[in-house]
Amino acid sequence: MSVPTEHLLALAAILFAIGVAGFFTRRNLIVVLMSIELMLNAANLTLVAGSRLHSSTGAVQVDGPILVIFIIAVAAVEAAVGLALVIALYRQKQTVSLDAFARLED
């Protein structure tokens, strides 16, 4: 694949922007969490693009893929905790709309 690096980076930027848009505009907590996953994936794509660029000039650099693996682990943790919180909140209010959780002291 001889796609220039900036096209990979541009794709990552677009995906990140879509994730940000979902994070700020949606009210469904689960969709908000999915937007966060989208942003993490955009970060992974950026790391892959950088790793590919630097590996092709000489020895293979594995720092990028390792960081991607750690990010995936952290994303799994974040999803697990986030969804556990969603379930706990759902038990309280019978909804996952962010409007219901505007006041934390409730």
């Binding site: 694949m1 796609v3 690096t5 900036e6 096209h7 990979l8 541009a10 794709l11 930027a13 677009i14 995906l15 990140f16 922007a17 879509i18 994730g19 940000v20 848009a21 979902g22 994070f23 700020f24 505009t25 949606r26 009210r27 469904n28 689960i30 969709v31 999915m34 996953e37 994936n41 992974n44 892959v48 693009a49 790793s51 590919r52 092709s56 293979v60 594995v62 720092d63 990028g64 893929p65 390792i66 693996i69 750690f70 995936i72 682990a73 994303a75 799994a76 943790v77 999803a79 697990a80 556990a84 919180l85 379930i87 706990a88 038990r91 209010k93 019978q94 909804t95 996952v96 709309s97």
Partner: protein, 187 residues
């Protein structure tokens, strides 16, 4: 030909990502995100990262998305209540909040796109094109060696993080069970 495949996968990734944000039914969002992760795995594969592509499918497609789908099914979320769903529509309702979020996203996206495209000429692309190593850019022996030598501390930290998460999620679930059932004491 391979480049064409990349641009096709990129198009699918962008469209499905937009589907995640725009779909009003959470199940559609989950399936959309799954396709987005799939096309990202294709991109990793094309770029020469076989192991990351496999991990992307296994962990993201297999574990994380199943978790999301499980919660959506558990809470029986065909959608929010009609009035909440109206407010949730990202484009047509609650214009002030939507406009703010969309403005932030568009500003961020266009700023980074401009930066990337303007800075692209400073990148030193390999002159003979990208020559893919036989084992790809993430050969497992090299990856494992780095993971257990230079990155052993983050590796252990990740294992502690996973343990802490397991315990934390258990505590979250347990505390809710011992609390009075929801809706009984609430006015």
């Amino acid at each position: 030909m391979v480049n064409l495949l990349f641009y096709a996968a990129a198009l699918v990734a962008v469209l499905t990502a937009a589907g995640v944000v725009l779909a009003r039914n959470p199940v559609v969002s989950v399936v959309s995100l799954l396709s987005c992760f799939g096309s990202l795995a294709v991109i990793y594969l094309l770029a020469g990262f076989q192991f990351l592509a496999a991990i992307q499918i296994l962990v993201y497609g297999g574990a994380i998305m199943v978790l999301f789908l499980f919660v959506v099914m558990l809470l029986n979320l065909g959608g929010l209540s009609p009035e909440a769903e109206d407010r949730d529509d990202p484009l047509f309702h609650d214009r002030r909040r939507s406009a703010g979020g969309l403005a932030v996203a568009v500003a961020l996206g266009s700023a980074s796109l401009i930066g990337i495209l303007r800075g692209a000429r400073h990148l030193t692309e390999p002159t003979n094109g990208f020559v893919l190593p036989a084992e790809g850019y993430d050969a497992l022996p090299a990856l494992a060696e780095a993971m257990f030598t230079r990155y052993s501390l983050p590796f252990e930290a990740a294992s502690v993080l996973l343990l802490a998460t397991t315990v934390g999620v258990m505590v979250l679930a347990k505390r809710q069970r011992s609390a009075p059932p929801a809706g009984e004491e609430r006015p």
